[in-house]
Subunit: 190 residues, 4 copies
Amino acid sequence: MASNKHEEIAQAAIRLFEKKGYHATSVQDIADEVGLQKGSLYHYISSKEDLLMQITHQAINGFNRNLEKIMNLQLPVREKFILAFESHLNSLTSNMSMAIVLLREAFSLGEHQHSVIQQATDQYLDLWCRILDEGLASGEFHHTNSRLTALSILGSLNWVYRWYDSNKRLSPNELAREFANIFLRGIERR
Amino acid sequence: MASNKHEEIAQAAIRLFEKKGYHATSVQDIADEVGLQKGSLYHYISSKEDLLMQITHQAINGFNRNLEKIMNLQLPVREKFILAFESHLNSLTSNMSMAIVLLREAFSLGEHQHSVIQQATDQYLDLWCRILDEGLASGEFHHTNSRLTALSILGSLNWVYRWYDSNKRLSPNELAREFANIFLRGIERR
Amino acid sequence: MASNKHEEIAQAAIRLFEKKGYHATSVQDIADEVGLQKGSLYHYISSKEDLLMQITHQAINGFNRNLEKIMNLQLPVREKFILAFESHLNSLTSNMSMAIVLLREAFSLGEHQHSVIQQATDQYLDLWCRILDEGLASGEFHHTNSRLTALSILGSLNWVYRWYDSNKRLSPNELAREFANIFLRGIERR
Amino acid sequence: MASNKHEEIAQAAIRLFEKKGYHATSVQDIADEVGLQKGSLYHYISSKEDLLMQITHQAINGFNRNLEKIMNLQLPVREKFILAFESHLNSLTSNMSMAIVLLREAFSLGEHQHSVIQQATDQYLDLWCRILDEGLASGEFHHTNSRLTALSILGSLNWVYRWYDSNKRLSPNELAREFANIFLRGIERR
DNA sequence: TATGAATGAGTCTTCATTCAT
DNA sequence: GATGAATGAAGACTCATTCAT
């Protein structure tokens, strides 16, 4: 379990990376935010990049864990499908900054680290494909290229951070249902 | 009209910004790519940020122009809708690097410049909303929150740069039709 | 008398200073090697430089003590001369790392500390001069500038750490006799 | 041919590396010495280590070149031998600072770079061995382990930087002859 | 138009040392 | 004795930009 300070630093980094971007955030900025000297940070992190890695890793893992839980439920595909939308948007909006860092800044990781995140992201895509394939197998969904459909869905959902305004009327769950409906109509057998 | 050299520089910048990201690309990198000295670049550009601005501006303008052309056609909404998908994906894939810079790096612009791009992006969203509203008015599409639907669509389409592989079987137009179908089924009246 | 821990730390420092050099060795490195925390080291040492001082001091003292013992023997100069070579190379090779730290890193000491070492080193040179002068007085050695000769000898002997390989065929005593022979022939009266 | 500024920087570095040591000399120190900003130095050097590399490389090359010239002369071995001593001490004392950097600081180079210098140093040793072998072949020198003898000689000569005071009565050539005599008597056939 | 020298602020990171617990 | 958090100065190096030639 990470020390309080470490968590505090991570949270500060998330805030700053979201607001200014990874590259535009200096280690000094983070230190200031936490009230430590630049050098002192290095008791808790090994490098700025490693900090980004931890954040993005934690973020993608959250998405994966939540979707896996849903996959394991004994429910009609249709309901799983809707829950998946809800899960994604709840993960996204409940810690929007972290999600933004994942979606926008992971690219700044070094090749190796980036590939680790990429792999976890691919896993997430697979989970979505599995839902679609289940629906196909059960006859509830008509035939589609499930990977393409999943990518379409994920695009819609991930784009949300670019425009979602949490003070607005739409709750994450409401939005999830709106989006789910569009896609459900698009793929359900009539 | 931009001199040849200026265009050459812009192209080099696009390539590099796409490959390494805006911040990770140095002015030196660009100069090397063009075969000029760092200092000489400044005869053609006023700043690195300005270069990014020009690229993103040109990119978003391309998207807007192409979609406007389609809007002005005298065609059934359904066909306009499909053409819009094709237009977007052709713009995107025909100059993927530029589109990537737009979608991924515009955020690195200063506040003011960024807001200019944002405005053009909002315009683009409006065009999509207009298509959906047209369909609603003509009775072809059933009632939806058109802005939400447009955002869903744009999310799907813009996400494409994250996974699209031009060497793969799917042409931009094929992909456009696949995506259009999903959304058409989602919003067309039965 | 130094505690065990203190000795352990000194030994670790010797190893590390020899391998990486004084400047390139961090206090952290030493702490790691001993299995202590950085902060804990300071119960045993007062500073990194002081550690170096102790090591070099101990080293040069060893050389001096051993040579003094030989000087006090009642033996023909010729034999003392040879014993001196043996003494030097035994001191050097029996704790090569320490000798290397003395010969290579003493320069990193602050001015004052360095001068203390320098003084002890000068003493060592004097002992060698005395041997040569004894030989001259007894008529065994022909006339030379004894200081110059001593410096020549010490150069030969101290250079040994740069190339001596303890796994090689040559034992320190064998090497001592080889070197002693060269110089004996060089200075002995025919 | 190196620009003036580059040479100026190298000279400043030599002075500083000699006086304070490589590690204790900061890039700032060098910049100050040359009257440039820290950053400006990097127009001329690629790194501090590279600067050290250049200096040591140039130094060892000087030693090698001079000794090679002597090797190619048509002279009795005895005279070559003496010339070699003179050559070494002239190289050493004519640019003492540079020689000191070579002898004392080359160890601070990274493994790869250090091995390059080491190789050139080994070559230099070989040249000395060849002189001794020539003397052996011609019957002028009696049988010795030439490598050991060469190492003994080089030790004597390289140690000189530790005590030689140029304001003192002894010129490099005089010193060379003193040293050469010691070793000549040590190895010449009677 | 093109150069390349120069800047100076800024980057991340390291490190010897101190000190409250 | 031992810890480990904290410091603060210093480290090498990068970079966008300017400008005299």
